[in-house]
Subunit: 225 residues, 2 copies
DNA sequence: CGCTCGTTTGAGGATGGTCAAGGCTGGTGG
DNA sequence: CCACCAGCCTTGACCATCCTCAAACGAGCG
């Protein structure tokens, strides 16, 4: 669901750098910024819901988005966090099978899924790019699968921090999400996540400036597998 | 790696039903069967290895394939089983990040990934189909992720059996894979899998004709989530 | 018959979950 | 400027689930 504001937000915003970055006039980035609108979501706002008909494709400009599913009994699994630059909403065929929410106040480009699909049918390069983005996402999720299936709590937390550092491009970064979000992403409880943060800090592998501000000190230890 | 036999197996085999099923002359199925070769792999043969350059795309004709990754210390996570009709090898971009092996003696169509990619660049419908297949696979893996992250051992085993029944199209079917394979797929140990099979049989939810031959008796119980 | 390989079963222990309480921080209002 | 409150995070004690280690079982095959 889009907030009302979208109705008035149909003026596309062009960012020279962004367009230049992902070269090509017909690239997905260009298209999203040309035919898309910029929409803002406040913290915890729903972007789309599990079971809804697919309507838009999104690209994060600012903030952070969580993709998740909730089981009947309330258990929640987060399947991905999307950060600035990430594209999401491509994976679904007709209906979303997950929900998406803003972790923090976020701003995203949105473009009609149907428009993108018809453009893709005329433009094989675009279609191939869509395939490629989806394939990369699949590979990413397979990595998460290994964490969930075969790694213990500390390895999961370390893997998560390394991933976040990589995406931030720095060994010092701020986590946009809560411990609960991290727990639901790593298949753990909030207490286990918290205990492992503390433990990593005690063994001088990381440093916590605040509960959300992390500095990785010993990347070698973290990167063991 | 392809076994030697592939050099001599370049004669395409056409199956009228298969072509008709996935309509369209330019559909992936048609292409795989036209430009592809049929290759046989014996039980446990490697089809490709983690880290290798992507060379082929595959479609299972007969048998079963497992996609997996092994960590340094030997822990193995299987990310998917592919059964007759399934296409795999589309997800990788340049290098495989997983390995593929035949679970049982298997026969597959193989087509050059590069050929497929260049066909896709001329044919938006094909490119869109490749996107769509990859998207479906992503959705499937997200389902597995929920199992690994948020479900207990019995729920995982039940979910696995339901999935296999669905793919077999029958509530009575034969498992091509060992308990060890199932354990490595579900993020459990072989003992836990075995105990849960026994327990499900004791509570009359399933019936085991042999260790590999399963009949689902009480689908309602199995399908709780 | 007596292998071997895969599976099942059992006993004990470790990891992570549950429940409960206390602490920190940032925002609001007196 | 301080007091209070709410939300988030941490810590502790106990417990359940699943893992580990070990042994026995059973089907297939020489």
């Amino acid at each position: 669901m889009l907030p009302q504001s979208v109705a008035h937000a149909v003026v596309p915003r062009h960012s020279k750098q962004q367009i230049a970055k992902k070269q090509g006039k017909r690239s997905l980035c260009y298209i999203l910024e040309t035919i898309g609108a910029t929409v803002d979501y406040p913290r915890n706002a729903e972007i789309y819901g599990d079971g809804e008909v697919v309507e838009y494709v999104y690209k994060v400009i600012e903030g952070a988005i969580r993709i998740y599913k909730v089981l009947d009994d309330g258990r929640r699994q987060i399947s991905a966090f999307y950060l600035p630059g990430d594209v999401f909403g491509l994976a679904a065929n007709t209906h979303y099978r997950f929900s998406a929410e803003a972790v923090t106040h976020s701003s995203v480009f949105v473009a009609k899924h149907s428009t993108l699909k018809s453009l893709a049918l005329q433009d094989p390069e675009l279609a191939t790019e869509l395939w490629s983005i989806t394939a990369r996402e699949l590979e990413y999720i397979q990595g998460l699968m290994i964490m969930l299936g075969r790694k213990n709590a500390q390895e999961r937390v370390m893997g998560f921090l390394l991933d976040m550092a990589g995406r931030a491009g720095s060994s010092a970064f701020e986590l946009p999400m809560s411990r609960q979000d991290i727990a639901d992403y790593l298949g753990l409880t909030i207490e286990t996540v918290s205990r492992n943060f503390t433990q990593l800090e005690n063994q001088l592998t990381i440093k916590l400036l605040s509960s959300r501000r992390v500095v990785l000190c010993d990347q070698d230890t973290l990167a063991k597998d």
